[in-house]
Amino acid sequence: MVIAIGFEGSANKLGVGIVRDGEILANCRRTYITPPGEGFLPRETAEHHQQNIHEVLQEALDQSGLSPQQIDVVCYTKGPGMGAPLMVCAIVARTCAKLWNKPILGVNHCVGHIEMGRLITKANNPTVLYVSGGNTQVIAYSRQRYRIFGETIDIAVGNCLDRFARVLKLSNAPSPGYNIEQAAKKGIKYLQLPYCVKGMDVSFSGILSYMEDKIEELLKEYTPEDLCYSLQETLFAMLVEITERAMAHCGSDEVLIVGGVGCNERLQEMMGVMCAERGAKVFATDERFCIDNGVMIAYAGALAHESGTRMEFKDATITQRYRTDDVLVTWRND
């Protein structure tokens, strides 16, 4: 039995979670929200995390009803992500490990999403679509690695959505993507946008610059809701297409959607239609787990710890660049 605490702060969410053998004992979170039209920057985001992390940590401990001595391993996000915010969590995690005299373990953020998704949905060996503000990857497990079959060759899908929300000056609360999703529900008129799939890879920058360049003109003919709707339909069709290609390639009949964009219900619905057509199943989680959180780091860390992965204190650093396929998946041998 392993009890793990996880610190996550690679982007604008700050989360602390506690798990015991896959049972979630605490899942606490704060989000740094910027004014409409603005994105979040590393320095300000790190400051937000600094100001909130003690409170979130206390809240998590209280929620779990545990004392620090009962915890077996302290986990934190090693990367990928923004340097300064990552550092805030790493420092607090290191301090806790020293203070409580517990081992420390750095976790790959993407692997955290995947393992959290598998835990919640009970998907066995799914093709994973990982979609967030910084990532767009189609991943499948093979021989102790989560291998990347397809990904964006420029910006992430969440980044494309966020930046389009800024063009329309939509609110960033609770998240720009959520507001695009709500607006898209009221869209009626469909605008054809550039569609760019290359093999199992996708490109989104062309769509974004098309929208940015023509926004004045487009708004004469289309409502903002129409544009949100058209954008979602196009981006998600591309994602579903490359996911299906990867499934066909691997002979897989399960899809797991993880990452912040993964809680978009239209994306889940489209993926469901694709899966139904090929006799496959789609698994997705809601915003408690899709959006960055501490539980996913705690849980993935617990799996690694249980299977014998250890990290020396001097290696408890952070890295902005950390590929999903760099991680040796010691806890799976299928």
Binding site: P80, I153, M200, E233, T234, M271
Partner: protein, 236 residues
């Protein structure tokens, strides 16, 4: 009369084989995808049929072997083309045969060279394949008459490399797109043939040596695209 036999159901198309106009024919039918907006579905399908047919024809002047086209039918969402009965995909060839003996492993070098030269010919003619994988390359014996077995045919100079599946192809002269095309191939090789880590470098050597035209620019674009994937900060 024309019994359609389903050969394969892919992610976006069904492949049938039949006799058509007296020839052994492969029908590629792109089916409707209900998950996407009907307008988008229609335009993607039409565009891909058109791009596929266009590139297949263009290849023929670029000295790259492709199937002959017998009918392009937008209404039925189909392309009718030559079916190579005695062919094997490069993917299956590598998986099934390559480990058997040293002679065939040598063939692999030969195949890599042919792939490199072929991709280079495509790019010299501004044809971007868009989906370069070993499943989209066929080995076809040159002379079938001499009762040769499939394996014997796959000796040096006795087979052709035929390129297929141009649905994601387009015509573009930019070095960026050529770099991305190479990157797509490298990624496909890594995910499909991770037992043979040097396939791509052999292909790239042949690609480089076939012609010097613009090669520096293409390779530096390729490195740049590759770096984008590896070094992206990936926030969130």
């Amino acid at each position: 009369m024309n019994d359609l036999k389903i050969l394969k159901q892919g992610a976006e198309a069904k492949l049938y084989i039949c006799k058509y106009l007296g020839k052994s024919t492969l029908i590629k039918e792109r089916f409707q995808k209900r998950y996407r907006h009907p307008d988008l579905d229609k335009s993607i399908t039409k565009e891909r049929i058109r791009n596929e047919a266009r590139s297949i024809v263009r290849c023929k002047t670029a000295d790259v072997k492709t199937p002959a086209l017998y009918l392009v039918d937008f209404q039925r969402r189909r392309i009718y083309m030559q079916h190579f009965e005695h062919s094997i995909t490069v993917k299956d060839y590598i998986i099934q045969h390559a480990t058997k003996n040293a002679e065939i492993t040598q063939n692999l070098d030969e195949i890599c060279k042919m792939i490199g030269i072929t991709v280079r010919k495509l790019h010299e003619n501004n044809i971007i394949h868009g989906d370069l994988t070993t499943s989209n390359m066929l080995l076809v014996p040159k002379n079938l008459n001499n009762e040769t077995t499939e394996e014997k045919c796959l000796e040096k100079e006795r087979f052709d490399l035929v390129m297929i599946d141009f649905g994601l192809s387009f015509i573009d002269s930019s070095t960026e797109d050529k770099g991305v095309d190479l990157y797509v191939l490298e990624r496909a090789l890594i995910s499909t043939h991770n037992d043979y880590p040097d396939l791509f470098s052999k292909i790239l050597d042949a690609y480089k040596n076939h012609s010097k035209n613009n090669i520096k620019e293409i390779l530096s674009k390729f490195e740049e695209v590759r770096a984008r994937g590896r070094k992206r900060t990936m926030v969130g």
